[in-house]
Symmetry: C2
Subunit: 319 residues, 2 copies
């Protein structure tokens, strides 16, 4: 029997007689034949692979994103490969070069802080690879992106805090250099406005994300004239640092400063002193949507391609 016949039988080509198909398939089982995917992919000039690039697997937010991606990928019989940039722009460029040489069909990436990968990502797109950003955006919005809707999240958080009686709600913002920090600061302002609370920049403090810097920001907040009673925090892991700091330095404030942060983490369930609530950004859904965009693009003519910008609504989760 010719290799071509075997190949067609195995792939269920309908030019092959039923009897031949069955014979081939049973022999394949008997001989433990498993096709060489590398050869197949090479022949087809596609890798049947989606690559995910994230800063760090220890951040469970991204693990949940990955689970969402894998759910969709496995439905489509696609493989998922994961790389960690550790927020190192140089490493990220290396990773993308590697992905180019692998000819992956799609890349889903949460870009490193201070990413230098824009050109590489453009290159990927030229080569026909679908690029989808998650969570973190890049200037000019030239790529697909799936992220949570910070404005929606902030609005829900501030509204909830106001209902609980808070009027002095501070914001602990991320580094001013980050897009996300600006976005969330803006969302915070808008949410205050919608709740008829005046914006007061003296209770907005920046942190470079280190525990030390966060502590200093909190100290500064506690020293303001009209001390805030609640705080909207840039990112959930930061909330942990805030709580740790309060426990050590201002244990009396622990109950007097209610915290809501962006992001809900599985580990929260084990904490005694936890944030009042979290803005659940639906990482699993973010992953699913990003994967769906990838597959839509992979199966589409490049002519008709449009850039998709998706902002998913958040929910407020009591911890």
């Amino acid at each position: 029997m010719a290799p071509s016949t075997v190949s067609k039988a195995l792939n269920g080509h309908n030019s092959i007689s039923q009897i031949t198909k069955e014979r081939v398939k049973s022999l394949a089982v008997e001989w433990n034949y498993i096709p060489n995917e590398a050869a197949r992919f090479f022949k087809h000039n596609k890798s049947q692979t989606i690559a995910v690039v994230i800063p760090d697997l220890l951040d469970q937010f991204y693990v949940l994103v990955i689970k969402g991606i894998e759910k969709i990928a496995s439905k489509n019989n696609y493989n998922v490969i994961i790389s960690e940039s550790n927020d190192d722009p140089g490493k990220e460029v290396e990773i993308i070069d590697n992905l180019i040489s692998k000819r992956v069909d799609g890349v889903i990436i949460s870009v490193a802080r201070n990413s230098k990968s824009v050109e590489k990502l453009k290159r990927l797109e030229q080569l026909g690879t679908c690029v989808t950003l998650i969570c973190r955006s890049l200037p000019n919005n030239i790529f697909n992106i799936v992220a949570s809707d910070s404005e929606d999240g902030a609005l829900k958080a501030i509204t909830f805090l106001k209902k609980r009686g808070h009027r002095r709600i501070a914001h602990l913002m991320g580094p001013k250099g980050f897009q996300a920090s600006k976005q969330r600061l803006h969302a915070y302002k808008k949410a205050l406005l919608a709740n008829n609370i005046a914006y007061d920049e003296t209770i907005v403090k920046e942190t470079n994300l280190s525990a030390k810097d966060t502590g200093e920001a909190i100290t500064a907040l506690l020293k303001t004239k009209d001390v805030p009673t609640a705080i909207l925090v840039f990112k959930s892991y930061l909330s942990l640092d805030v709580i740790n700091f309060l426990k050590k330095k201002y244990p009396d404030k622990l109950k007097k400063l209610e915290i809501i942060g962006f992001g809900k983490l599985p580990l929260f369930e084990f904490l005694d002193n936890k944030p009042l609530a979290s803005i659940d950004e639906k990482p699993g859904l973010i992953g699913e949507k990003a994967a769906e965009i990838s597959f839509k693009n992979i199966n589409e003519d490049t002519e008709t391609k449009t850039v998709e910008q998706i902002r998913l609504k958040c929910t407020l989760a009591k911890n």
Copy 2:
């Protein structure tokens, strides 16, 4: 210029003149040429890839293992792909089939509970793929394995507890069906013996790992005549459930029952009520060792292959 010349120039073959090499390399840069790895791997009949199969990425223990593996892999210019079995034996078999068809060069796997993959793994080895187990063993020790030395860990934990004055040290064991449960129970017994503490099976309780079952086990422990003052716990995530349970049902016992568990988790630093200490199983090192075994085997004749069984010493980490 012939493709063969280009190929050799790019790969730094020394039959190529310096001048040609430079010309080729500069043109490659100018034209943005990035070689097609799929073709290369296919040609070489190896994928330059190590696969890691673990139960769940949300378990940070495994994330740390992966980081260890990636450290070694990237040094060797190898790729790492990750799959999650979710402890589902059927899923695990599927994953391994997939890895076979990918012709990966090495597989590092923490097998699913009740794994049915032994035959598949043997198959992988026949095909020349190096298989290395991590943490969880399979009957007959036919595969390479890297795990922590439970006996060493238990000894350090029990000795430490005795120094703190404890004489009644209970053990919360994992499901009897698991190899690891038996191993750690045995390690616990040996450590008691070494410390001249009599073994008492009434203070050894089993849990099926669910929070509910763990709670019942703890309740039973607290109802024994001579209530234990310390407890050696099968796995760190279990310690969290134990603490949560005590907080809810027996808050007064929280300070009277000191806990040491196998495994140290990054998230411990955020807990108020944390285990007294943890047996640090060095997940990063486990990953590194497993990767090193893979590479040694990949670069070796299959003739000389021997099975490696590595048990890494633990340290006791204060939380």
